[in-house]
């Protein structure tokens, strides 16, 4: 029963939602709306699960003095500080933790946002180093990739326009903004579509395996 009931639920809900996709009328449409809300409620519990897991894993690491355990103190400290600030600000501002002037908003603006921006900004330095050392025209394929990257890099700023705006009209297709648009619209779109269709087929087959009970790994055990 422990395995059969979840399988019956998966089959019923999965089949109902597939039907609702093709028959967007009541009772299927109403069931779809209702089940979507249930899904969102369940998704909210993922935060509790995630938070609990974070506490358990890092708490255990600190308790057992595992490798790099002081970083876990920073992780848990940051987590508990933001959680506490969010709950406090939410309680004070009647549900709106991000109310102007709240503690949570202050921490978000003064600590969280600059730290996240800093981490992301570091990419510029890694890209600079990689572009110098790794981006080499070693093979024919690498040369094509390099040329495309060159056009995209230059086309993403007004540099492309300034460099090639002098090109006479019969050859305007050689202007970097036009080449940039062409690469994105044709080779890029063709490649992306192929990947997307492949992924979609994979998702359909996995979903069918789940709905029909062939794939049971989500139930735990073997």
């Amino acid at each position: 029963m422990k395995r059969q009931i979840p399988l019956i639920i998966t089959f019923s809900v999965g089949a109902l939602l597939v039907l609702a996709m093709f028959i967007p009328h009541d009772p299927f449409a109403a069931a779809n709306d209702e089940l979507s809300v249930w899904f969102d409620i369940i998704a909210s519990f993922a935060f509790i699960l995630g938070g609990g897991n974070l506490l358990r894993i890092h708490g255990d690491k600190i308790y057992r003095r595992r490798r790099d355990w002081p970083y876990s103190i920073v992780t848990l400290g940051g987590f508990l500080l933001m959680l506490g600030a969010g709950l406090w600000s939410g309680a004070v501002s009647r549900g709106n933790a991000m109310a102007p002037g709240s503690l949570f908003q202050a921490l978000y603006v003064a600590a969280y946002a600059p730290m996240m921006s800093t981490m992301y900004s570091l990419l510029a330095f890694f890209v600079a180093s990689a572009s110098y050392r790794a981006f080499r025209a070693k093979t024919r394929e690498a040369t094509v990739l390099l040329l495309a990257a060159f056009v995209i890099l230059v086309g993403r700023t007004p540099v492309g326009y300034h460099l090639t705006s002098w090109i006479p009209q019969p050859f305007e297709f050689l202007e970097i903004p036009n080449l940039f648009g062409w690469i994105l619209a044709y080779p890029n779109t063709a490649g992306q579509r192929a990947i997307m269709i492949g992924i979609a087929l994979g998702i359909i087959s996995t979903s069918l395996r789940l709905i029909l009970g062939i794939e049971r790994s989500h139930l735990g055990g073997d």
């Binding site: 993922a46 549900g95 996240m116 050392r133 981006f135 390099l146």
Partner: protein, 291 residues
């Protein structure tokens, strides 16, 4: 040591320093660059420009602080344009950090430039809901099932501009400002396509490449990266010159301009060094073979 050897063994900290200078100097001097709106960006601008007064625009904030330099200017430009044209703006978020970004936008746009626009009548902030694409699917059918209150906890029945909104189908345009999952793709798949609602996007430069397969049929238009944001601002300033000083993307295009040029120069030098080294090795082998 020859120049080639020096170039080969260049300390990466020198590259880092050059990049830091390349970003910092234009930030200090703020050069003004001319940006021309591309067709893919103009389509978003033209759509908002063509909508009749009172039309409903849903804007989703699906990004966080890490991509603010790219995403926030586009969100601000769209919000300014929508409010300037007296359209109704509904703000939601499928990202936890999106709600905070929407709050920051309210401070910098609504409470600064549009103090005459009334909350609940001209714009509303509904906030974040969990569920990713499930959230989009839920509000597609019945918006009030999920959004029973706005971000501040006010019942939606007490908000005038929510009275005639039952589902996403009541929206005239969806604009998603995003930097990953869930993002523009999910808004197209779960709202735009099934409901025949026009969807426009504003995403990071990296994300933009992934969305071209949807353009132009399923995706009305797209602002890709800082350049896309600057192009939208350029279109906005051309029509409404009063927003010239608020054009953040146009102001920070300088550092991106120099940083991209630097990367191109690094690639060229790196390859020149590589080919010179290969030639030297080839010559060495030939000389070795002769002896």
């Amino acid at each position: 040591m020859s120049l080639l050897d020096r170039m080969k063994r260049i300390d990466r900290r020198i590259l880092f320093l050059l990049m830091a200078a390349g970003v910092a100097i234009p930030l200090l001097f703020r050069p003004t660059l001319t940006v021309h709106p591309s067709p893919i960006v103009s389509r978003v601008f033209d759509k908002i420009e063509s909508l009749p007064e009172g039309s409903k625009i849903l804007m989703s904030f699906d990004y966080g602080p890490s991509t603010v330099p790219e995403n926030q200017p586009m969100a601000e430009a769209i919000a300014r344009h929508v409010l300037r044209r007296r359209l109704k703006l509904y703000m939601v978020s499928a990202w936890t950090t999106g709600q905070a970004q929407a709050d920051l936008l309210i401070e910098s746009v609504m409470r600064t430039d549009f103090t005459d626009r009334v909350y609940g009548e001209d714009w509303v902030h509904l906030g974040y809901k969990a569920g990713n694409q499930g959230m989009i699917n839920a509000i597609f059918g019945a918006m009030r099932n999920l959004y029973t209150t706005d971000a501040a906890g006010t019942n939606v029945d007490a908000i005038p501009m929510m009275r005639d909104v039952q589902s996403l189908r009541d929206m005239d345009l969806i604009v998603d400002i995003a930097s990953g999952f869930p993002g523009v793709k999910e808004w197209i798949q779960f709202a735009g396509d099934p409901g025949n609602i026009p969807v426009a996007g504003g995403v990071t430069a990296v994300e933009a490449l992934l969305l071209y397969p949807y353009y132009p049929r399923q995706l009305l238009g797209l602002m890709g990266g800082l350049q896309g944001a600057a192009e939208y601002e350029a279109a906005l300033v051309a029509k409404y010159p009063e927003y010239r000083d608020d054009s953040k993307a146009l102001q920070i295009m300088g550092p991106q301009y120099v940083a991209h040029l630097l990367i191109v120069v690094f690639i060229l030098i790196g390859n020149a060094t590589y080919f010179a080294e290969r030639r030297r090795q080839k010559r060495g082998r030939i000389a070795g073979g002769r002896s």
